[in-house]
């Protein structure tokens, strides 16, 4: 196939998915919207929007409480989503699926409920230079509370982890490893399975921050072997305010509750309270019912599409985007790891990323600009921030071509 034919065949394959996303059918400043910010938050398919609306319209009520029909329906849909997610990531039990408000809460939960009681001065937690702030700050907090120390695996100038240094840092003093599956700022895919194996050789549990992993690849937590896997709904075409903590049942059972309140108890009296069993022990208060139902619909959507075909498409489109951006004089690509998901960070001439973002927005192109909540990565590259284009299953080459046109216009404006 010629390149043009390849391009056409890729466009045809994903055009059907594009139609599922109403937000993509709009114009911004008289230009068709080109949405290249899915790593921040992905657009939602109509099936997710409708699932949420259907609950709001007909089934709105509280879960796990009422004997009436609406509460039954709400509970069924809410708990049904848990089953869907269990299947989606191949967890061994539904008790291992905890609904949270997002990756951030999932990680904080593990830091406070799993790590904090086990840590004391001199213990070490191992994380990496590549992480999002949500996989750094919770560990800094728990270190401050316990006197433990946070060790950081460095990266190289392509944005890849220094695995030799990981081996050096992995000692008997390390109590926990927290690592991102895919870097949100650079797109680097970390060898998490290998890292889990190495940590387990020392009996050290591993949390994987999967916020950027779940949207781009089929996740099998049992195959990865990790002890905790955290992710967010809104990066996988679901609603904001939803997230999952997967945890091994044995570890979750041993952990004290993270928050206290309704729904996480069996019996409350002032003589003592009996906590509920898993997974409810970690779900205090009325949950984000509509959001979780939407998340369930997002899982249905992802299971209805050909994930392997999408992965191939995203990988092809990433190559196309990187190649086309790279052709522009004055471009500096940030993050050139060998193994990457659909994210490319870059700088253009000496135009500040923030200016670039505004000018691109004016051409209908939505990208993320700034430090991407990964200030240590920016410090490593000695830059205040980057422009970042990120891909989802609905992006096509026309999107990339419009990005290139907009970048060239920005260059002209600042020339």
């Amino acid at each position: 196939m010629t390149n043009a034919q390849k391009k056409r065949s890729h466009e045809a394959a994903i055009e059907v998915y594009r139609q599922d996303f109403p937000a993509l059918q709009q114009t911004i400043s008289d230009h068709p919207l080109v949405y290249l910010d899915s790593a921040s938050s992905a657009q939602q398919p109509v099936s997710v929007i409708e699932a949420v609306a259907e609950y709001q319209r007909n089934d709105h009520s509280n879960v796990h409480r009422g004997v009436h029909t609406l509460s039954h329906r709400a509970t069924e849909a809410y708990e049904g989503a848990r089953d869907k997610i269990q299947g989606f990531i191949n967890a061994a039990s539904r008790n291992e699926i905890i609904h949270t408000s997002g990756t951030t809460e999932s990680i904080n939960l593990v830091a406070q409920s799993h790590c904090r009681p086990l840590l004391s001065a001199g213990d070490k937690i191992l994380t990496t230079e590549l992480e999002h702030h949500s996989n750094i700050v919770p560990w800094q907090l728990v270190c401050e509370q316990t006197g433990a120390e946070l060790l950081v695996v460095p990266i190289d100038d392509r944005g890849q982890l220094d695995l030799d240094e990981f081996d050096n840092l992995l000692t008997d003093d390390v109590r926990f490893v927290a690592i991102g599956h895919v870097s949100n700022a650079l797109g680097t895919i970390n060898p998490v399975k290998e890292i889990v194996e190495k940590a387990h050789a020392f009996d050290i549990p591993v949390l994987v921050d999967g916020a950027q992993g779940v949207p781009h690849m089929q996740i099998d937590v049992q195959d990865l072997g990790c002890d905790f896997y955290a992710f967010s709904g809104h990066k996988m075409y679901g609603p904001t305010g939803t997230g999952i903590l997967y945890g091994r049942e044995k570890l979750l059972e041993a952990m004290p509750p993270y928050k206290g309140g309704g729904d996480m108890i069996i019996e409350v009296s002032f003589n003592g309270t009996v906590f509920n069993e898993l997974p409810y022990k970690f779900e205090a208060g009325t949950p984000n019912i509509s959001g979780v139902i939407g998340l369930g619909a997002a899982v249905d959507y992802l299971q209805s599409v050909d994930l392997q075909q999408i992965a191939r498409h995203e990988s092809w489109l990433l190559d196309y985007m990187t190649q086309e951006i790279g052709k522009i004089d004055g471009i500096r690509l940030i993050g050139t790891a060998e193994n990457k998901a659909g994210v490319q960070s870059f700088l253009l001439d000496d135009i500040h990323a923030h200016d670039l973002g505004t000018i691109l927005d004016h051409q209908g192109v939505a990208i993320r600009t700034g430090h991407h909540c990964a200030m240590p990565v920016m410090s490593f590259f000695k830059i205040p921030g980057t422009a970042r284009a990120s891909l989802a299953l609905y992006n096509n080459t026309a999107d990339i071509d419009q990005l290139i046109v907009a970048l060239k216009k920005a260059q002209q404006l600042f020339a």
Partner: protein, 160 residues
């Protein structure tokens, strides 16, 4: 030049030649060793950080002003225009400018009239940001830092 944006008034309104000129060649840029006042301004949205230096003499006149740091075209140009303007002014008048500029840029629906004794002059080139709420913070960053420096606040000010 810039033919691509000839019909694109909004972008030209935001990135006027004066702004681009000050962004490319910021005036009074660099560390000042004999400053009497100094404060940082941080925009957490993008991580930009500017440090504004002032040398205020015994008559409360701003004898010298400067800044350093990194920022977008809007924040650097605004800092550059600020330093150009306030050198030689009484510190009280610099504060008046601070109020006038921050109010004018933060109220997209109404142009706040220039108070008596204030001539915004070139600073009106920043008016374009009024259409871009997320960029108002860029334009006011140096101004908040200057105000904080005059108030002798030691903690960095944030535009969030």
């Amino acid at each position: 030049m810039n033919t691509a944006f000839d019909t694109d008034d909004n972008m030209r309104d935001l990135y006027r030649e004066l702004i681009l000129d000050h962004a490319r060649n910021p005036r009074h840029f660099g560390k000042m060793d004999d400053a009497t006042h100094c404060a940082d301004g941080i925009n957490p949205l993008c991580g930009d950080k500017l440090r504004v230096y002032l040398r205020v003499n015994e008559d409360q006149l701003i004898a010298a002003a400067g800044f350093e740091g990194s920022g977008c075209a809007i924040s650097v140009a605004s800092a550059s225009l600020l330093t150009d303007l306030i050198i030689g002014l009484p510190s009280s008048q610099a504060r008046n400018y601070y109020s006038a500029v921050t109010q004018r840029l933060s109220n997209p629906d109404t142009i706040v009239a220039e108070p008596d004794s204030i001539d915004l002059g070139k600073l009106k080139a920043l008016d374009g940001v009024r259409e871009y709420p997320s960029r108002v913070k860029c334009a006011t960053l140096a101004w908040h830092a200057m105000n904080s420096a005059l108030n002798n606040q030691s903690t960095p000010v944030s535009t969030e």
